[in-house]
Symmetry: C2
Subunit: 234 residues, 2 copies
């Protein structure tokens, strides 16, 4: 499948690399491809520049958001949350029409210090903002409740653990669950939370995630929803 991944950071690299390894035809979108390729410094976490990553992933192409979105059959939003809507707008609204848009972003706002707050929550979510702005896209919020290495390799965390999908379009969620199975997720560990407004739940969980990250000293963790047997009472 032709997949477009918007965003060249750690999350975009992890998802694009995994999708390419699974045999998909992957293009990565960035606002200014020449500027992205010209960077030679590691990022603030010490990760090598994008050009180094691209050299190591020969099948992956780089383009503008509009080029990448236009040719993609399925689009992954792996941009920074704070810039997501503008980045998607720059890709051209018509390029999302009828397509599955996998949104893995979080509305993190580090401008008030650490741990970050959210720039939208409680009565709205970034997932909903994106769905409202691109009404013809079939937005599925998923994978935003864990770090990007766990997203594409759930075995990084031992034992069983869970991933959520939220969205209005049942067929789009079904396609995304198949993608997740390709990443190594078992379909039984994918929890469908309902419509896109349930993205409020998975995004607000980030306030707990960042504190768990601090308390555990690792980003390699996830939650497992442990349930009583189905015949138990409320």
């Amino acid at each position: 499948m032709k997949v477009g991944v918007l965003g060249t950071g750690m999350v975009g690299q992890a998802l694009a690399g995994k999708l390419a390894a699974l045999g998909h035809d992957v293009a990565v979108g960035t606002r200014d491809p020449q500027e992205t390729l010209a960077r030679t410094e590691p990022d603030f976490l010490g990760n090598p520049p994008f050009a180094t990553w691209l050299d190591a992933h020969a099948g992956v192409r780089l383009g503008t958001p509009a080029e990448v979105a236009a040719e993609a059959e399925l689009i992954v939003n792996a941009t920074n949350g704070s810039g997501s809507v503008a980045m998607l707008e720059s890709a051209g609204e018509q390029n999302f029409a009828g397509k599955v848009l996998v949104d893995v972003t979080n509305p993190l706002d580090a401008s008030h210090g650490m741990p970050p707050t959210l720039f939208v929550c409680n009565t709205d979510s970034l997932g909903e903002q994106i769905q409202r702005r691109f009404p013809e896209a079939r937005v599925v919020k998923t994978l935003n409740t864990m770090n990007c290495q766990v997203m594409v390799d759930p075995a990084k965390v031992p034992d069983e653990h869970d991933v959520f999908v939220c969205g209005e379009d049942a067929d789009a969620k079904h396609q995304v669950i198949e993608l997740l199975e390709g990443f190594g997720w078992s379909a039984e560990r994918v929890i469908d939370l309902g419509g896109i407004s349930s993205a409020r739940g998975t995004e607000m969980y980030l306030a707990l995630w960042v504190r768990l990250f601090g308390a555990l000293g690792t980003g390699h963790f996830n939650i497992s929803i442990v349930r009583a047997p189905a015949n138990a009472s409320l």
Copy 2:
């Protein structure tokens, strides 16, 4: 230990009943004890009136918030989140000085429909509001991430799962962890998230909890934090 439980709802009943069963001297505080005892109708969930519960728990006493807080060595806030600060104020600020105040509440706001939103989140929390209003209380936020039956009987959910503590006072958290062990929690499954501001994380998780409740069709669930081995990288 003399324990005061503020709140006569399902959460207060569950906690007071468990504490009494464990041998503590338990009193329950309610704004108007006579009015509470005079109720003869089941609540909106069909639970029997408080007087019926009290008859079945002979050792538990009922009093005003001030009476209960004054004599208690440790106080549990199991009131409705929206009325918590006012209820605690009615108990008298001096009655909390130096005492451990176990806060299990959530700032749920159902006035906009279901699932509920939160009346405080993101840059503040109900736990912090209570600690600020009662600076001499030693507030520990805990147990607010699950239903009250799981709070007092973690075996209601199979397998291992986790509970959080948040607060400024290490000794108070230690006392609360001992209480939790009495409830059946293993100390290894108690995660200390840090200061009281980390209550933002556990309260905001409720936005996910209410949606999981909808998706799973049961309140008998909890999260288990599944971690990579300690030597794994970020």
